[in-house]
């Protein structure tokens, strides 16, 4: 046991001596959280919008003001012609235009209805569809309240106008994330990414470094069981991973203001299982390769890139081809991110994440067994 702690102590010394790496390990999650939380977001903001209507109309002017005030759009003003809209779009002065049909307001009350066209710059398809969606909902809301108000006024007058009130009004509710904040989606993803990075990449590189420098040769010719050498390597990285986990959670709760809806205990437990699983991956990689560069490439290419692609962090898994959907099932981070989303964002009881916990525990057991079997205590 004394030998084991000597190893653990040595590993901590290595890590603390290498200040820059430590700084990156602690600083990177902070940077990512801030980046994804504030700078990189899928929400739209301050999109330049132009309006066109054949006639002047006070109702439409109020609508334009409302759109301008929403924060999502910035009004560039009224255009005189469709050609001008076209020109503004080309020059990049506007990203989206709202073109009302002739006699729009009066058309609203006619059986034929009124026509409004939304023209967007679809070079970025995600933004374009978001803009259309946001505009449609603002317009619906505006006329919805406007119409019902005018309807009730007229009802008082003649009590004979029921056509507008028969309109279908969908009642939309965004569960778990009513403000549609993208940080709700990214926080579990970043946790999956960073914890995998620290645990698998750093452990495997630090074990392989000993092989590369030749110190493993000396360690092997000692009474210490070589598997203990590897286990001792994991403890410091486990500790660092836990520190980073707390760091991410604190930033998430106090800076991004994403509340933890479910059980804090189970969220930590699921994360610890995931940390152990990642350590197992690192250990397996280190027992298979001989050079740091290969270890880095394997961990980076085979484990980190799929985390981004197939964990549902950036792209929904359900919309992938079936073969890739199957592939996504073997990505450990996918299960972790799903579990964290359920507990942290949805706040469901732990019995709904039993599946995820079991899969991750199974994977961890598998990686550790493979690593121990593959570990050679000779050169």
């Amino acid at each position: 046991m004394k030998e084991f702690f000597a190893f653990v102590r040595k590993e901590f010394l290595h890590i603390f001596r290498d200040r820059k790496t430590l700084l990156v390990l602690i600083g990177l999650p902070t940077m990512l959280i801030v980046l994804f939380g504030f700078a990189i977001s899928t929400e739209i903001r301050n999109v330049n919008i132009g309006f066109f209507s054949p006639q002047e109309d006070a109702v439409l002017s109020r609508l334009a003001d409302k759109i301008d005030q929403s924060g999502y759009f910035t009004s560039v003003g009224w255009m005189r012609s469709e050609a001008e809209i076209d020109e503004a779009m080309r020059q990049g002065r506007i990203d989206v235009a709202l073109m009302f049909g002739s006699d729009f307001t009066s058309g609203l009350y006619s059986p034929e209805g009124a026509v409004v066209s939304v023209v967007t710059d679809a070079t970025n398809p995600n933004n374009a569809s978001m803009e259309v969606m946001y505009l449609a909902s603002i317009i619906n809301e505006y006329f919805g309240s406007d119409i019902s108000r005018s309807v009730s006024m007229r009802m008082a007058a003649s009590a004979n106008m029921s056509s507008a009130s028969g309109m279908l009004v969908p009642n939309l509710r965004m569960l778990y994330n009513p403000q549609l904040k993208s940080s709700y989606n990214f926080v579990p993803g970043i946790m999956g990414l960073i914890l995998m990075l620290i645990c698998s990449l750093m452990t495997s590189v630090s074990i392989v470094r000993e092989k590369e420098t030749g110190s493993m040769e000396v360690l092997l010719v000692s009474p210490v069981r070589p598997i203990n050498i590897v286990l001792a390597k994991m403890i410091p990285y486990f500790v660092i991973a836990c520190v980073v986990l707390l760091n991410i959670l604190l930033l998430t709760i106090f800076v991004l203001k994403v509340p933890v809806a479910g059980s804090f205990f189970w969220m930590i437990l699921v994360s610890v299982i995931y940390i152990i699983l990642s350590l197992g991956i690192g250990m397996l990689v280190s027992s298979l390769v001989r050079t740091q560069i290969i270890a880095t490439l394997i961990c980076g290419m085979i484990f980190l890139v799929p985390v981004m692609m197939f964990s549902g962090m950036l792209y929904p898994i359900e919309s992938m081809p079936v073969a890739l959907q199957w592939f996504a099932q073997v990505i450990p981070a996918k299960w972790f991110i799903e579990a964290i989303r359920k507990i942290m964002i949805e706040g469901v009881p732990v019995r709904y994440v039993t599946m995820e916990i079991l899969v991750m525990t199974g994977m961890a057991a598998m990686f550790f067994t493979a690593a121990v079997v593959k570990f050679k205590d000779k050169l």
Partner: protein, 307 residues
């Protein structure tokens, strides 16, 4: 008492290449012996060490250390063995003291329990205790590595090319340290590519292409050198080598420091004066000097190669 017994070890890494190590017969290293393995780079010294240090399994043959088989009992061997690889393999980001403490605790010991064993070596490192191992000079690194491989008081010590890249005075100190360890009863096996260091060993094995050419004390090896050996020099050393090789009486000619060494064929009448006059008259060399020299280990090695 035999500390190490090697019975025909063989190891090859690739099928299409000759084996890295291919020892025939039995080689015995006695307890408390300072044994040298001498050979040029690529002779198979490191591979042999790794097999004896239980890091590589031999393809054929077997070896025992203190009666323990290197394949079967490798765990037990690892408790009695001190091994210092050729490459500096301590932790360069840890200080001198931290390295030593770490290696002591790996063997379940502390520095004090075996301090007397390393005292002579460590006293030179003591002023640099707080310095990072990576910032030490080459000789200091080797001293630290030696301390680390001695701290658990092994009964057998393997040193793979400990003097490579070390200045002459540090080399001399190292050999003095090894002599002290031997005097303390430790079996020490050292490999080196420097022939002049072999004199310090009780016995040496001359190694070439994975085989032991001969195993004997340096004195006996030199005594058995049965040929006449001449040292030759002239103003034009380069063409001299070629010309010497074309002489009838000359068996073998090779450069040795600033002279060429020449062995003469058995039964030839030629001597130093005859060769000198032939070089001057037939080949037109100027400033020719030819004289008899006693054989060194290097001469023995050069002439053993052929057999």
């Amino acid at each position: 008492m035999d500390a190490i017994v090697i019975r025909g070890l063989r190891k090859s890494f690739r099928k299409d290449q000759p084996p890295a190590v291919c020892l025939q017969g039995e080689t015995v290293i006695r307890k408390g012996e300072l044994f040298g393995i001498i050979g040029p780079d690529g002779a198979g010294k490191t591979t042999l060490f790794r097999m004896l240090a239980t890091l590589l399994d031999p393809d054929e043959g077997s070896a025992t250390l203190e009666g323990l088989d290197v394949v079967r009992d490798y765990r037990k061997i690892r408790t009695i063995l001190g091994y210092m690889p050729g490459k500096f393999s301590l932790y360069s980001d840890l200080s001198v003291k931290e390295n030593l403490e770490f290696f002591a605790s790996v063997f379940g010991k502390d520095i004090d329990s075996n301090y007397d064993l390393i005292e002579n070596i460590y006293c030179r490192l003591r002023p640099f205790e707080k310095r990072k191992a990576g910032k030490l000079s080459g000789g200091m690194k080797q001293k630290l590595a030696l301390c680390c491989s001695l701290i658990h008081s092994p009964s057998i010590l393997f040193l793979d090319e400990p003097t490579t890249g070390v200045d002459p005075s540090s080399r001399r100190e190292l050999w003095e340290n090894l002599a002290q360890l031997k005097a303390a009863g430790m079996t020490v096996v050292v490999s080196t590519a420097y022939m002049d260091e072999a004199d310090r060993c009780d016995r040496v094995a001359m190694m070439k292409s994975g085989r032991f050419l001969t195993v004997d004390s340096p004195g006996n090896i030199m005594k058995r050198f049965g040929k006449r050996l001449l040292a030759v020099r002239s103003d034009n050393m380069f063409s001299l080598l070629k010309d010497l090789r074309s002489l009838d009486a000359v068996e073998k000619c090779y450069t040795f420091g600033d002279t060429h060494h020449v062995t003469l064929k058995d039964g030839t009448e030629a001597d130093a004066a005859m060769i000198a006059s032939e070089l001057e008259s037939v080949y037109g060399h100027k400033g020719v000097k030819v004289y008899d020299v006693p054989a060194t280990l290097e001469d023995c090695y050069m002439n053993l190669e052929e057999e």
